[in-house]
Symmetry: C2
Subunit: 395 residues, 2 copies
């Protein structure tokens, strides 16, 4: 073979078994596959249809035989405490459902890269989706293996995927307190929006960690291990999901002085109804703006402010009806819409949105103030430049 992209089906192509995807997805990379949910479709569905759910793969999609699938539960020495088949999971534990939004730490990275180069996919605002997951509580699985309390040997829970490049598998970890907290709703899932989890989303079993960035909701889950330490996986230990101060660059980065791994997204929001450069017709007199808002850690959205004059004035958006979720467990986004008057004084303007969460945190006004070398957690006010078109009657 010559080097380069291999045709699908080629036995040397590690991605040859990847599933086919909907062309509507906004693809950033083919192998491994990485694609956004089309942002303009987001406000149409509180639960994202499975085939439109964003995809963030680090490795090829593994082929898992449900008949022989086993999830192993391991103690801090790596000894197997339990080995659970898919039917064990479905029959030995009570089933539960969680509706949660999942967000990639790189959502809206592209806008940080526009300020100064950052590493990672230059994502837009569509690297998030919402689903209803069904499965069993992680704490029930741990409890059945005798793990019911934090101890010196039990501080973290590792999730290791079956996806591999033969030198390493994808993995990540959460702390044991979150794993055991009945109010944290950490799920080991086998259904997504009422059907088997599609292969692209972790078939047959994945972790779902509500309120925490997507990287910890490990797909194709093969192993759960308790440990005194965090997962040794690259994606837990490396800079991929850590928020460095703006002063830190790839030249002066100190690998020994690492910020804590990111767990929860701060409050954020985005406009979905208009792409940059969209034309708004002045004859309509108002513009209907639609979007989403979300905050990590189970915090809900109290208010979304929207502007059609570049941020000079704001109007509270109408928050769309959504399933109620209890205090501190508002895992899913809030969709919203606003009808704003158009000022024809300027032919160019910006639509702007910003949200307030249930802890009264707000979004930063300028992305410059949160720039970081990995382009993570861009929750600055979302600005969409648009043109106001005054139509000529003679047209």
């Amino acid at each position: 073979h010559e080097a380069g992209d291999l045709p699908s089906g080629d036995l040397d192509d590690p991605f040859r078994n990847d599933p086919t995807r909907l062309p509507a997805l906004k693809v950033l990379k083919d192998k491994p596959f990485n694609a956004e949910t089309p942002i303009e479709l987001i406000p149409d569905n509180f639960l994202t249809p499975n085939e439109l759910y964003y995809i963030r793969h680090h490795l090829p999609v593994p082929v898992v035989d449900p008949a022989t699938y086993k999830l192993t539960i391991e103690d801090s020495t790596g000894a197997t405490l339990a080995s659970l088949s898919l039917s064990d999971l479905k029959s030995k534990f009570d089933a539960h459902e969680v509706v949660t939004t999942m967000v990639c730490g790189g959502n809206r990275r592209g806008a940080l890269n526009d300020l100064a180069a950052v590493r990672g996919f230059k994502w837009g605002a569509g690297v998030l989706s919402t689903a209803k997951w069904k499965g069993v509580w992680l704490r029930d699985i741990l409890g059945s293996s005798g793990i019911r309390n934090e101890s010196d040997d039990i501080k973290h829970v590792w999730f290791t995927g079956l996806d591999t490049d033969f030198s390493q598998n994808y993995g990540g970890s959460i702390d044991i307190d979150r794993a055991l907290d009945p109010r944290a709703d950490v799920l080991i899932a086998y259904e997504m929006n009422g059907v088997e989890i599609p292969r692209d989303h972790g078939y047959p079993v994945r972790a779902i960690v509500p309120g925490v960035l997507g990287a910890r909701s490990v797909k194709w889950l093969g192993h759960i291990r308790v440990s005194p330490d965090m997962s040794p996986a690259l994606w837990q230990q490396g800079p991929a999901y850590r928020m460095y101060p703006a002063e830190v660059t790839w030249e002066n980065i100190d690998q020994a002085e690492k910020p804590a791994p990111i767990e929860e997204w701060p409050v954020m929001s985005a406009i979905c109804s208009h792409a940059p450069g969209a034309e708004i017709y002045a004859v309509d007199e108002t513009v209907r703006v639609r979007g989403y808002a979300y905050s990590g850690g189970g915090r809900g959205i109290n208010r979304v402010d929207v502007s059609a004059d570049g941020g000079k004035t704001f109007t509270p958006a109408r928050l769309l009806p959504r399933p109620s979720q209890p205090r501190g467990r508002v895992w899913a986004w809030t969709l919203w819409e606003a009808e704003l008057p158009i000022s024809v004084a300027d032919s160019e303007t910006e639509l702007v949105c910003r949200a307030l969460d249930s802890s009264h945190n707000v979004q930063p006004e300028r992305p410059e103030t949160i720039w970081n070398l990995r382009g993570l957690l861009n929750n600055s006010w979302h600005r969409v430049p648009v043109s106001i078109v005054v139509e000529d009657d003679d047209d």
Copy 2:
């Protein structure tokens, strides 16, 4: 009597039994007494000395006889389920301790009032303090009265104080989930920093609701009631502790459309070492800046950025050692200090600080973007204008 202030000791003065206070407190009002902790002393003590703890009273300090004191636990009809003496509290329940920062919702209101008039005391940045409280878990008290789960009749827990103006008593409420959550650490306290709670801080018994603004930690606690509804008290129902959008004014306020009561402070920080107008000596070459950072809801502080050039460049501060608190239960502040080079190019500059919390929320850059008619939750970047004095050798 003539109208006007009555001399202390006058039988007609409802405040005649108020305790004496340390003159170091920064007093905003005498009757009822309202005073800040002197901000310059804050960085000296992780636990604020009791006599320097901020005081925010709405009514006269009640005289409570510990020998006859009773805390009543009431069901949703108001029927008494239990009546607990001080010795009942100390003998019938296990004692626990919580270290928590408490913050008035009006901290730094003065700076919002500088933009446009707001109602309420024009507080500076010293309406917060930290103490180690000892008492019994609220959930243990509720449990001993048979209240162990949320139900249609049990959605909120009212706290009613013994302080009164004879038409109403001070009160507030929290939701039952927080009251029962073992990770929320809600305490019914009888000790403050190792001694009986001083009269100004709730003697003999008060509620301590960690991570929630001070208004819910009701002092001189007389009654705990469960209810399907929030407390009817003015301070729970009125606009005093609700965050209105900037567009809402006292002229256009819609009393029927109230934002949710504030529970948790967003991430915030302040400089304590320098008052506005302070002089910095260029000959020192660097300036040592000290302050505090805090976030509500048990979120810890990941980073504090400090600037000595008005916010053009920031340097991470050194976060001072503090007692470790578990994930999601970091109830107490983080004190910090930074040593920054002085630029003598400008004779006037601003010291600026801003914090990042464990959920990666940041503070808003400009107070204009969070202005609200009650001047609540001002967590904008803290800016302190200072002068740089270039001393003359001939002086």
